[in-house]
């Protein structure tokens, strides 16, 4: 259930040129996270709308997020010092369903779509699955969290558009390098990537895809983020951000 939290910033620092990692502290269990792939909606002083950012990982008393600096809000966020309070609504959205993974789940993340897969990956490994993770970036300089996934024990494949690391090309190109067939897939990234994946992945393979949309509220009240699915209109913020492969209308 959603709640408003005054987090304390424990850490907030760049991990690539324009991507920052922020660790937030709250009292035990306060964050209310129930599934990987949920997000928080962050209040930034001076801006009207909150900014939705996926939960990368969490413990009882901390929430980690990873964000790319792309505009006014994230530029301001980057300047926030540890020790400062941060107001956010948590935990929003449905999140991924780790229970559906099977033995050999495939996780595919592109750019800032990578972070929510980390908490998912940890969950899956803790539950005994052996996930394969494909991470897509433009170039080596932009790669992040590869080692973190490896440390969890996942098999990690990287694709870079310019070939500076791993497979040259897109995550769809890296799909070829997978050894065992996947039992289920989870993905998050830019919409063109999701669409390309839907084409590239075996037709029968079930999976979940996480979407982005401009949000008014982030908790289901305004209909700002609606999309049409096979089962009618859904709100990305509340009924999503994770949609079932089979319900998506491309």
């Amino acid at each position: 259930m959603m709640r408003e939290i005054e987090f304390t910033i424990l850490e907030n620092k760049p991990i690539t040129d324009d991507i920052c990692k922020m660790v937030l502290e709250c009292s035990a269990g306060e964050h209310g996270i129930t599934a990987p792939g949920q997000f928080i909606n962050i209040k930034i002083d001076g801006l009207f709308l909150r900014r939705p950012i996926s939960i990368c990982d969490w413990t009882e008393t901390t929430v980690t997020v990873i964000y790319k600096v792309v505009g006014k809000g994230t530029e301001l966020l980057k300047t926030y010092e540890p020790g400062r309070q941060l107001n956010a609504l948590s935990a929003l959205g449905n999140g991924f369903a780790p229970a559906r993974a099977g033995k050999r789940p495939l996780l595919i993340g592109g750019g800032v779509g990578v972070p929510p897969l980390y908490g998912l990956c940890r969950n899956l490994i803790e539950a005994g699955a052996r996930p394969t993770v494909i991470l897509g970036f433009n170039t080596e300089r932009e790669v992040f969290y590869k080692e973190e996934f490896e440390k969890l024990g996942a098999e990690v494949l990287v694709a870079t558009a310019d070939g500076s690391m791993g497979q040259k090309g897109f995550v769809t190109d890296a799909l070829r390098n997978i050894k065992e067939p996947a039992t289920f897939f989870y993905t998050c990234g830019p919409e063109p990537m999701l669409k390309a994946l839907d084409k590239a992945l075996a037709e029968g393979l079930e999976g979940e895809m996480s979407f982005e949309e401009r949000m008014g509220c982030g908790f289901g009240a305004c209909m700002g983020c609606s999309c049409e699915t096979r089962y009618g209109a859904k709100r990305i913020c509340k009924d999503g951000p994770v949609l079932e492969r089979s319900e998506i209308l491309w």
Binding site: F48, R214, C217, A221, A233
Partner: protein, 303 residues
């Protein structure tokens, strides 16, 4: 102390949530007991289900946002069959039914269906949505068209009818008077200002529909002015809407002439805002020497 009245129905306090920012109450009832509200106006409801406009439907502005939802709603039948029964489990008071339409007949039909529901206290006729083509805004900017909608709705219902006005007009008093003459029992204002943002990266409008409705704290001074003007122009009660987010602003709107207020965009960024404003009112009233809220309605017009 906080009590006020709207078209013969007593409100425990003047604070209502505005249509389109509170759904049918479900999301907020998960956060707090929504019975603390004076009431709320539910999401604009039309005859048929509507998906609304393409996304992006939201753009950020300084001190506000633009929306172009386009009246997404499940249609009046589903509202009656599913939303109102659920609402009955979380809200004991009369709710305000906000209705939209694309023709005079549609407005009347939707109103007639909702008039039969006991839970509904008032019918708020949104003749001012900037986000639907074919009608919508035209009803909201032409006094004769507005009057014909209000007259048709009045003929179709027994509950009090509140005309919700658009701020995108040269003379708001003409619209209010036309609605009063057509039989409206109250006026609520304002709906959103037509606004726009352009994305510097894509060099295209942010909103898929190009323009949308601008609201939030930025519009408060314009809304307050219109409430003040309309209070002078009509005898029926006025509901003040536009940019409200604090107890002080509630009082300001009431001094301008509102007997109740609605809070819109602020709900989206601070989901507890209505509850907090109601909580803060007694203290702010004390600070400014106000004993009974209803005594200050229109107070800024004296002298």
């Amino acid at each position: 102390m906080l009590q006020t009245e709207l078209c013969g129905i007593t409100l425990d306090n003047p604070v209502m949530a505005a249509s389109g920012t509170f759904g049918y109450g479900r999301e907020f009832a998960e956060l707090y007991d929504i019975n603390c509200l004076g009431s709320f106006s539910f999401k604009g409801t039309t005859l048929e289900p509507r998906f609304g406009n393409p996304t992006p439907r939201i753009a950020e502005c300084e001190a506000g946002l633009i929306n172009s939802i386009g009246l997404q709603n499940p249609g009046v039948e589903k509202v009656i069959e599913e939303e109102l029964p659920h609402l009955a489990t979380i809200f004991d008071k009369k709710v305000m039914a906000n209705i939209g339409g694309f023709s005079v007949e549609e407005y009347a039909q939707v109103a007639q269906r909702l008039d039969l529901c006991d839970q509904i206290g008032w019918i708020e006729v949104n003749i001012s949505c900037p986000n639907v083509r074919h009608g919508g805004i035209a009803f909201g900017t032409d006094p004769d068209a507005a009057a014909s909608v209000i007259r048709a709705v009045k003929d179709a219902v027994r509950k009090p009818v509140i005309a919700k006005l658009s701020p995108n007009v040269t003379d708001i008093t003409k619209m209010a008077i036309a609605c009063e003459n057509a039989g409206a029992d109250g006026i609520s204002l304002v709906n959103t200002l037509l606004g726009m943002r352009i994305d510097l990266k894509t060099k295209k409008p942010v909103i898929a529909n190009k323009m949308g409705g601008f609201s939030g704290s930025a519009i408060f001074p314009a809304a307050l002015r219109m409430v003040y003007q309309v209070y002078d122009a009509v005898k029926i009660p006025v509901v003040g809407i536009g940019g409200i987010a604090t107890a002080e602003q509630v009082i300001e709107m009431m001094l301008a002439g509102a007997c109740a207020v609605q809070i819109g965009a602020a709900n989206l960024v601070d989901p507890y805002v209505c509850r907090n404003v109601i909580r803060d009112l007694p203290e702010v009233m004390r600070k400014y020497g106000i004993a009974e809220l209803k005594d200050i309605i229109g107070g800024a017009h004296n002298g």
